[in-house]
Amino acid sequence: MNRIERVNDFVIRFANVNGSGSASANNLFAQAIFRMGIPVSPKNIFPSNIQGLPTWYEVRVNEKGYLGRRGGYDMVVAVNGQTLLKDYNEVASGGYFFYDSTRVLPDECQRTDITVLGMPLTELCNEAFENPKLRQLLKNIIYVGALSHLLDIEFSVLTDSIQRQFKKKPKLAEPNIQALEIGLNYAREHFTDSCRLSVVRRDLLTDAIIMDGNSATGLGALYAGATVAGWYPITPSTSVIEAFERFAGRYRIEDETGRRKVAIIQAEDELAALGMVIGAAWNGARSFTATSGPGISLMSEFLGLAYFSEVPVVLIDVQRTGPSTGMPTRTQQSDLIAAAYASHGDTRNVLLFPCDPAECFELTAQAFDLAERLQTPVLVMTDLDLGMNDHVSRPLVWDDKRRYDRGKVLSAEQLDALETRWGRYLDIDGDGICYRTIPGTHPTQGAYFTRGTSHDEYAAYTEDSGAYERNMIRLLTKWDTAKTMVPEPHITIRDPQSKVGAIFFGTTTHSAYEAINRLEEEGTAINTMRLLSFPLTATALDFINSHDMIFVIEQNRDSQLKTLIVTDNGILPNKLVPLTNFDGMPITADYITEKLEAGLAVSTTTTGGSK
């Protein structure tokens, strides 16, 4: 048998039962790799259930820093009887299958191409611990102890992590460390030279953090000065607001009074959630909501109101698998069209696409500036994979010299100094963005009637076609202005001669770069553009115009980004080649590589082999 032999480069999958306390053991494992300075990416694949259904935790270890999903499992740790057989069959040839041997393996398990490592986890655990609740938790810690032997994880890193975790309750640290030792000792005795996967300290992550995207997003909103949040619980966006609330509890308490410098309202539904955000933003507070696909559908009418009445709102869409309720705990990038063109009538909304926690923080903060600058909804499009999983990321940064850009808001003094008649929807700068006022600012100046009905330059109701059209055309001018304000794409030209390109965004980024690097190593150069926003900037359009064949890699069935690019810019659809994955699992580098190779092969045969 050819055993897989790799250092700092493998994928391990844990198969557990939901609600059995496996999360903290698995986190402990991933954190240990991180603390040994090796890039690591854990992904939770969990059911829409609170207790009892299967759940998996995939950890990719990769010292080159490829942190997207790779595809395939070099080792499986199986502690869920329900899925044991499936887990067994999914181990890569030459890989390792670690299981709880308190129960014998079923007869079907006859593979000769994998190494089977049995350890009586339940038995060992029950011998050592009395408390039934503790037993369930510690069984998981025992296998982490065993893995530290099998994979050469520094044991002190694990014990340090435990001590850090239970700093405030040292009593709880004790049994955890005992469990680690039980696993370690058993493995030492029974498995000698059994496993050729290993980790070696690299200290590659001196500055990095490991964080879930939703916490970074919530923190971004806090730093950006959001004071009002309206929301309705929905996976996978709930933890954005929970993070915001958690950080607000620490950093938004008024010293003298203990009162809160924030108002977070759990609304009756998503309609009300966005209504609150619009009301607050209209009244001069930075405000936001976080939701997922079903919420976007419900918020549609209100998004149209905010677009047409020009109220700056920030909306975080942590996308999940649609349509309808879809797969609530699986990931996708499938709300693009719904978000970009939300609501009836002609509407267009600004979208931002973060790809890691640092960008969740930065782009969320930037969304508030953009929304106020442009007086329009800005939607930060993340997804379940980014939002709910921990990701290794550069640290979050905030420049203290940075000032909130509140956009064109007239103060009482500015209203007094006006020489001509002010019009809420009067474009005097030619950029499509007009001056707004906040209620209560001035005793006699600047009051107007905000409405979703058609209005003229002075905010008066009108059914005059000319006035209506002028307003709609001005909104297009504003859209053009948006193209100069949104963040630029990240473009990498690997070969200036190459006419083949690839476009992707968000969580597709990591696997896409890995796949394209693999092709480059084999001599095929694909130039890349990672989009950070919609609409596309002039630079982004240049990239598209200077390539003949461009793969658009995204995680939805209908090539939604491609549609946006084509529709908004009049690009010829044929040069954009869809490369989609929509199974609800984060896209893998293996899959992208295969599809790119296939796509390039087709183009070579049909076009006669140009590069």
Binding site: F34, A208, I209, I210, L222, Y223, A224, G225, T227, V228, G230, F247, Y251, R252, T257, R259, R260, K261, A263, I264, I265, A267, E268, D269, L271, A272, A273, L274, G275, M276, I278, G279, A280, A281, W282, N283, G284, A285, S287, F302, L305, P395, L396, V397, D399, D400, R403, Y404, P439, G440, T441, P443, A447, Y448, F449, T450, R451, G452, T453, Y461
Partner: protein, 350 residues
């Protein structure tokens, strides 16, 4: 279309305590049907705000969609207004109020806007006791979409189309009491004597003041067979009692008989004197108020006046303990923890 009112000033016009004229509280000329009840309510709002010397720029008026929801254009022209979407005024008002707790929020809605499409938002603004005046201009029909029955149309009542409404009606006052409103009143657009002081009491109330104002639709629901017609309402209303609203710092001129009057001190110190028709009625008792509504209904009467008051209620801000400073007045130094704190936060994720 909105028309601006010509500016002429009557020489005798008086200023209120804050120096404003009555016309400072007026809005654009109404485009509603002549005789529409909604216009009378607008006039009553103008009068109440003028007499209470509310500063126009410290008021935000909000509405949903419907003939009723158009009225904010026709009163308080110097105030900011927000005509939102159908049934969603309460959430806009909630957000606005969260952003600035110092303004007076006047929300206007219709019976369609509130009792059907907006029922959810209505209910939840009530249970959070949002500090606002929530006025339903109740005509028992959808005026703007040409007269369909609304959910407040009484069973058996028939409008212009002549078909009696076959369904049970929703009593918004009763519902409001049950859902946690802290001030509930009903009135009639044709009874300014009652409506103006009710509006004033609502203005001085802290928390959600709900006003169900029967407001006949002359075009679609003012028929002899309708229970929301001018005539029917006049003939069938029965007040909980006559009452006086005495704003803070006004002298009390009338002598109120103890025993037959109930005095209530409002949040801002104003006084509400209720001369009761019935000895045992206590407007601060939720249970008695609901009973009273049901009793009147059994007798085929429409109960008007102050129906329920909880003068010392906690509004949303009190409940969630927000700062007393308006949130929209906080600046970056108040809100942004800065780079040093961020460095420490990063450390927690290593």
């Amino acid at each position: 279309m909105s028309y601006t009112r010509p500016t002429f000033r009557h020489p005798e016009q008086q200023r209120n305590d804050k120096g404003y004229f009555r016309r400072d509280y007026e809005g654009a000329i109404s485009t509603l049907c002549a005789g529409c009840g909604h216009d009378s309510i607008s006039t009553a709002i103008v009068q109440a705000c003028f007499e209470m010397a509310v500063e126009p720029h410290r008021v935000a008026k909000l509405s949903g969609i419907g003939c009723s929801s158009k009225t904010p254009a026709y009163f308080l022209g110097k105030s900011h207004g927000f005509n939102s979407v159908h049934g969603r005024m309460p959430s806009i008002a909630t957000g606005a109020n969260m952003a600035n707790r110092d303004l007076l929020y006047i929300g206007v809605s219709g019976d369609g806007d509130t009792a059907s499409i907006g029922m959810g938002q209505f209910a939840h603004a009530l249970r959070r006791n949002l500090n606002m005046n929530y006025i339903v201009m109740n005509n028992g029909c959808y005026g703007l979409t040409k007269g369909q029955d609304s959910a407040t149309a009484d069973k058996g009542s028939a409008g212009k189309k002549g078909t009696p409404n076959p369904f049970e009606s929703i009593d918004l006052c009763e519902l409001a009491i049950e859902l946690g409103a802290s001030f509930v009143a009903r009135s009639f657009s044709g009874d300014k004597q009652q409506l103006v002081p009710l509006l004033k009491a609502a203005i001085s109330h802290n928390g959600l003041a709900f006003l169900d104002v029967i407001s006949p639709c002359v075009t679609f629901n003012n028929t002899a067979t309708s229970t929301k017609s001018y005539q029917y309402v006049r003939e069938h209303s029965e007040a909980t009692g006559t009452f006086d609203f005495i704003p803070l710092q006004r002298e009390i001129l009338t002598r109120y008989e103890p025993g037959t009057t109930q005095a209530i001190t409002m949040h801002d110190g104003s006084l509400l004197y209720l001369e009761k028709l019935e000895q045992s009625f206590d407007v601060t008792s939720r249970r008695r108020s609901v009973d009273k509504l049901e009793e009147a209904k059994e007798n085929g009467r429409l109960l008007t006046g102050v129906i329920y008051v909880k003068p010392d209620s906690q509004d949303t801000h009190d409940i969630i303990n927000t700062t007393l400073r308006p949130l929209n007045s906080l600046d970056q130094s108040d809100l942004c923890p800065g780079s040093e704190v961020l460095a420490a936060i990063n450390e927690n994720y290593r």
